[in-house]
Amino acid sequence: MDLASTIWMILFYIFSSIFFIIAGVVIFFGFKDLSDLLSKSEKK
């Protein structure tokens, strides 16, 4: 594989990993945020 393609491949792995790592962290903490939001929201 040529050098330019290799660089794009490395960039793909770096940025897609960042996306999936942030997604994992967001899912982990998001459940708590969601339950906080619902408990703070006024009920009819």
């Binding site: 594989m1 040529d2 330019a4 393609s5 794009w8 491949m9 960039l11 793909f12 940025f15 897609s16 990993s17 960042i18 996306f19 999936f20 942030i22 997604a23 994992g24 962290v25 967001v26 899912i27 982990f28 903490f29 998001g30 708590k32 945020d33 969601l34 906080d36 939001l37 619902l38 703070k40 929201s41 006024e42 009920k43 009819k44």
Partner: protein, 496 residues
């Protein structure tokens, strides 16, 4: 095709669960702040999830994959440009912090605070029309995606899309922003898992070496170097950078997430982390498009290549989860967009033209009616309109129609003391000029004189469209300082 009845079963369970959760949010809604901005109580992780879910729909996967298929590795560069724009916004708080401090619910509300009611009305109309036009092609791409992955005919699809719209419109109408936030989070989980699974499966079937060979064979240097790509180049790069800053901070469905945040500081962080995800979330579907090019060859077509690849390589069962993820992505986008454009129509078009302001209850009712009307419009428009150039460029161009004028008007209003209402009004009109000229003249480009050819170049048209309102804003404001003195809004911008 690997699609089976088992996949349909997974999708039905998912749709049922979404409707149930979305409708449950109804019991929490009490006033318009609750309906339009979820009571401004959204914290960081939830804010990131809802923003990512809003900005990923099936149409996003489709146009990103199409972009990858047609531009080669050069398309990845666009993902990096997207990321840079949002990181700048998140790091500096550019525009979003100022707007969040003002505690507004829609962008045009700012126009009335800084300028006057007429600017708000014009801004509201431009925003509403461009936003709905922008959303108009979503269904068409969803239809293509589903037809290719499920192996169903177009006749069945229209019914599927109608069912999907009914589901989204109903929970958006009943639950407002809170139901959008709840379902967005659920959809974010499914989208993320689905994206990971599809990427792993595709990379086991198509190697990077296969992709590299396909790119070199079909696009040569243009497929690797974005500056050598005939469909990209400097105008495209310039347009993308400014358009990202503008749409990133001013696109109502995105800005609405800043307005929901519990503080301006949280709003900034949401944008910063969202920005960090952007390059990856762009590159993943672009890679799927590139893999489709390598797997099928160029003859399959840029638009249907990616969904056909997924329908071919992803096994049954997993395909159901992936399709549920795609439907999740679409529904979160539709619901957020429906709520945004109906909020703008209600608060910035209907309210300003009435002598008596709408009550909280009335404004929620009117917003619900607009949600329904927009839903019907996108169903009809999506199946009738033929898209010029690539879907990505159509979406950015219709975004430019609103964002270019709004960028000059809002950035000018927040950061330039001499910005006045006449400058703002002129800038909003200038903003719609180039995109409208393009959308109309593109249909007659073969009969246009040669010197007008630049207008039908989507990249030049987009770039000029972004710059023109800024120039108009500065010139008109400076020329009318005495007759129309600018309003001072610094007292509204104190930190919470």
């Amino acid at each position: 095709m690997n699609y089976t009845i088992f996949d349909t079963f997974i999708i039905i369970i998912y749709l049922g669960l979404t409707v149930y959760l979305g409708l449950r949010a109804k019991k929490y809604i009490e006033n318009s702040e609750g309906y339009f901005v979820a009571g401004r109580k959204v914290k960081l992780a939830l804010g990131i999830a809802t923003l990512v879910a809003t900005e990923i729909g099936t149409v996003t996967f489709m146009y990103m994959a199409e972009f990858g298929f047609t531009m080669g590795f050069s398309s990845f560069f666009m993902g990096i440009l997207n990321m840079i724009g949002f990181i700048i916004i998140g790091y500096t708080g550019f525009i979003v912090s100022g707007l969040r401090k003002l505690k507004i619910m829609t962008i045009p509300e700012f126009y009335e605070i800084k300028y006057n009611k007429n600017v708000r009305l014009l801004g509201g109309i431009v925003l509403f029309l461009s936003g709905v036009l922008n959303m108009g092609i979503f269904l068409k791409f969803d239809a293509i995606f589903l037809s290719e992955t499920m192996g169903l005919g177009q006749n069945v699809l229209i019914y599927i899309m109608i069912i999907m719209l009914i589901v989204v419109v109903s929970y958006t109408i009943l639950g407002g922003m809170l139901s959008v936030v709840i379902t967005d989070f659920m959809q974010f989980v499914i989208i993320s898992v689905g994206m990971l699974i599809v990427t792993i499966i595709i990379l086991t079937k198509v190697s990077f070496l296969d992709i590299s060979n396909a790119v070199n064979m079909n696009y040569g240097e243009g497929g690797i170097n974005p500056l050598k790509n005939l469909k990209m180049g400097w105008f495209f790069i310039g347009w993308t950078i400014i358009a990202n800053l503008a749409t990133g901070s001013l696109h109502q469905p995105i800005a609405a997430k800043a307005f929901c945040s519990e503080s301006p500081k949280v709003a900034r962080k949401v944008f910063l982390f969202f920005g960090l995800t952007l390059a990856g979330r762009s590159m993943v579907p672009m890679l799927w498009g590139l893999a489709a090019l390598a797997f099928f060859g160029p003859s399959v077509g840029a638009t249907i290549g990616m969904p056909r690849l997924i329908g071919t390589v992803v096994p049954s069962g997993v395909l159901g989860i992936v399709l549920a993820g795609m439907l999740a992505a679409s529904m979160s986008t539709y619901s957020a967009y429906l709520l945004s454009w109906s909020s703008v129509a209600t608060r910035d078009i209907i309210s300003p033209i009435r002598k008596v302001p709408l009550s909280e209850e009335q404004s929620i009712k009117v917003a619900k009616i607009f949600s329904l009307l927009i839903g019907i419009f996108i169903l009809v428009f999506g199946f009738l309109y033929e898209i010029p150039a690539t879907a990505y460029q159509y979406l950015v161009l219709t975004g430019t129609m609103y964002a270019s004028g709004a960028f000059a008007v809002v950035a000018g209003g927040l950061y330039w003391k001499k910005a006045n209402s006449k400058g703002a009004f002129s800038a909003l009109l200038a903003g719609i000029l180039m995109p409208m000229l393009f959308l109309v003249l593109e249909k007659f480009k073969n009969s246009l004189p040669e010197w007008m050819g630049f207008i039908t170049d989507i990249n030049i048209s987009g770039f000029v469209g972004m710059i023109l309102p800024i120039i108009v804003m500065v010139i008109v404001s400076l020329l009318t300082q005495k007759s129309t003195p600018p309003n001072d809004i610094t007292k509204y911008l104190k930190e919470e």
